[in-house]
Assembly symmetry: C2
Homo-oligomer: 419 residues x 2
């Protein structure tokens, strides 16, 4: 066993013990601890900013890009927002202990499915130091122990944020190992976390949540022996049906693509029904709003022509592909072939057509007459999200506190035997 | 790509296409198809028994054990039971399409979580040919395509059962690829199914369900790149608290251990509170009922003494280990160390003690004053079960139709943009 593997085994063993305690804490205790952690973050602002300055200096020396430096940088406003986020999680409804359903068997045995924490979460993230606070807050509020492994470029910022969080959490009555932070930048630590499926008998990580760019998510998904909650791509489609109101279609398409182009819920491909009255006018509106549109056959010779690769590309930029399709069946077939099971929308007046699209498009989120940019835990009313999942099991779409829980069966008897 | 990998890729691609159709079928169509499949099984009884005779002859020549031969053997009663089982699944409540919850956002967007099939299930099983019918019925009723890979010793039986099932399903309006059976006994086929996580772009298996002995489950869990729904061990405990009624305790302990010793819900370890009035009398009752009891320190010198390995052993036989513990805390600690997260029970009159046990024992099923032998989908009122899962995510304990579904978010708008 290498030192790093031994280190992670130690973390998971401690986390498992903390998880057993966390599972029994009251909502009030968890909420109080998170409010104390928020206060501790506010109080530690000078320390956090000083630590961040060390990271920023090193990052600038190392020649990190402007975008990366922006993600890494903290200021008073960002620290306050981080603290506000932690305090907001304290106000969310606690899913733990909720009775999902209950039946009484003919023999009198009462069977309940009761929500319980998942156990131990591994959070693997990159340069944004706020994840240290956000992910710890969501994990702990749902009764889970979290093991945080941030990017090496943010090590001093993360150390300071973690120290403040833990001081608040402990003051509020949460075990010290509820939110552990891995202080080594060795890449093998990530590998050890991804392999921590409990088969070595030292406890395990129950769920890995990667927070970062596509490279990180791809590595995590390909290496992990532990279940992963994530999405790799957001190749999202808006299908404009022949029955769509053209003004509504233009408003939704422009918002879906351009409101923010760098978010996972942005539209990448516009599918237009051949029966839609004026596809060119719709595309012109999108171009006029500042989008490069790469078109498939039958649209415009004056615009860039899409290649086969365009249909599988997540631009995350003011670029979209656009294709004519044969009605809703054509749209469903295109999405089945090129989609990434994230968020797809239909604009249509015809309810039967919309119902077919919503039923047959196999994505975590399907929308009728609304922008794909609503793919967000806050917009869904979940209060916060740990991420958006495109896998098929456990939790899909925006995942918040409930998605960080599972259930157990609790049977209440009066001496029943099966006999 | 080897031939076997190519073969499984072909199966998964067809299954994915079938799954898209299955997801849209009405409950009535699925139920009608399953009833037709049950009829087809009844009609094919002579063919199935003839095929089974071929398997039995080969198995006897190969020197299979009596227990294996019994699992393999079919007769008219077993074929009828298989058909009845398929018909019974047709009568279960269909989870697909159920609205789990619905909210209306301040902007008017209606958000529903709607149950949908998981997609493609891989069933990997051993000598019992009835799994071919049972697993296909449950999978299809929940709207999933299934890929069935049975044991080589049952190949002719499985071929005949599968042919009958498919003829009925197709007559009832279900796609022919809804239930595919892998006709090769090559072990590499199992490896290819376990690796079918979709990364090769040819479709994938969404969930593997192993049905068989510990060797099979262990192989599947250690090799799979696809999520697995299973339990490896059922090291189940009954804790008898000091507050327990001695007569109830004896009845539950004897039932939990001895009703059937070979099932995964049987008790393997008896934990007795030091405050319980007469632990020796309780153990004597178990011994008198025909159980070998291996005891820990402080119990009886006249009985076999448990070694450390006994606490981690699933006997699946008329053998149990027994230990004295320091109250409910001692029981919880013992189970945390040695349990397998399957089914654990407490016998107690003290509600506070029971509540603590039910809350802190981290198993899929926890029971108060009831036998662990209730760990069964039928006993839980689920009608049937595909298996019992001890993992933490998605579905735990007995898994039936609902556990073979997931959900999607469906948003109904009137032109909302995020703006």
């Amino acid at each position: 066993m290498t030192d790093t593997v031994a280190l992670i085994a130690e973390f998971t063993t401690r986390a498992r013990a903390a998880a057993r305690m966390l599972a029994t804490l009251s909502t009030a205790t968890k909420a109080q601890a998170l409010r104390a952690a928020a206060e501790a973050l506010r109080g530690a602002e000078p320390v956090i900013l000083a630590a961040n300055a060390v990271d920023m200096t090193k990052a600038a020396e190392a020649g990190l890009s402007g975008a990366m430096l922006d993600r890494l940088q903290l200021d008073a406003g960002r620290v306050a927002a981080m603290a506000d986020g932690v305090a907001a999680v304290a106000g969310l409804a606690d899913p733990v202990g909720a009775v999902i359903d209950e039946t009484t068997r003919p023999n009198g045995l009462v069977l309940r499915r009761v929500r319980v924490p998942i156990g131990v979460l591994g959070i693997i993230y990159e340069s944004r130091p706020n994840v240290t606070a956000d992910a710890a807050a969501l994990g702990v509020m749902a009764g889970n122990a979290v093991i945080l492994r941030g990017g090496s470029e943010a090590i001093e910022s993360n150390r300071a944020i973690h120290a403040a969080m833990v001081s608040g959490l402990v003051a509020g009555g949460v075990p010290v190992d509820a939110a552990q932070w891995v202080p080594v930048t060795d890449r093998a630590a990530v590998g050890a976390m991804l392999a921590a499926d409990g088969s070595n008998g030292t406890g395990a990580i129950d769920l890995i949540v990667p927070r970062g760019g596509k490279g990180l998510v791809a590595r995590v998904q390909s290496e992990a022996r532990v279940p992963v909650l994530a999405h790799l791509d957001g190749i999202n489609h808006v299908y404009v049906d022949g029955s769509a109101d053209p003004a509504m279609a233009a408003a939704i398409v422009i918002d879906a693509k351009l409101r923010r182009t760098g978010v996972c819920g942005s539209m990448e491909t516009l599918l237009i029904d051949r029966a839609f009255p004026d596809p060119h006018a719709l595309i012109d509106r999108l171009v006029a709003a500042g989008c490069e549109v790469r078109v498939g056959p039958g649209l415009s010779d004056a615009l860039p022509q899409a290649t086969e690769a365009d249909w599988d590309t997540e631009y995350l930029d003011a670029i979209a592909s656009a294709a004519l399709v044969d009605g809703v069946a054509g749209a469903i077939a295109h999405i089945a072939r090129h989609g990434s099971h994230h968020t797809d929308a239909i604009v249509a007046a015809d309810e039967a057509v919309a119902t077919r699209f919503l039923g047959q498009v196999d994505s975590a989120i399907v929308l009728w007459n609304a922008s794909t940019q609503f793919a967000d835990g806050g917009e869904f009313g979940l209060g916060a999200e740990i991420g958006i999942a495109t896998g098929r099991l456990h939790a899909r779409g925006p995942v918040a506190l409930e998605g960080l829980t599972t259930y157990k069966w609790v049977g209440l008897g009066t001496g029943q035997v099966r006999g």
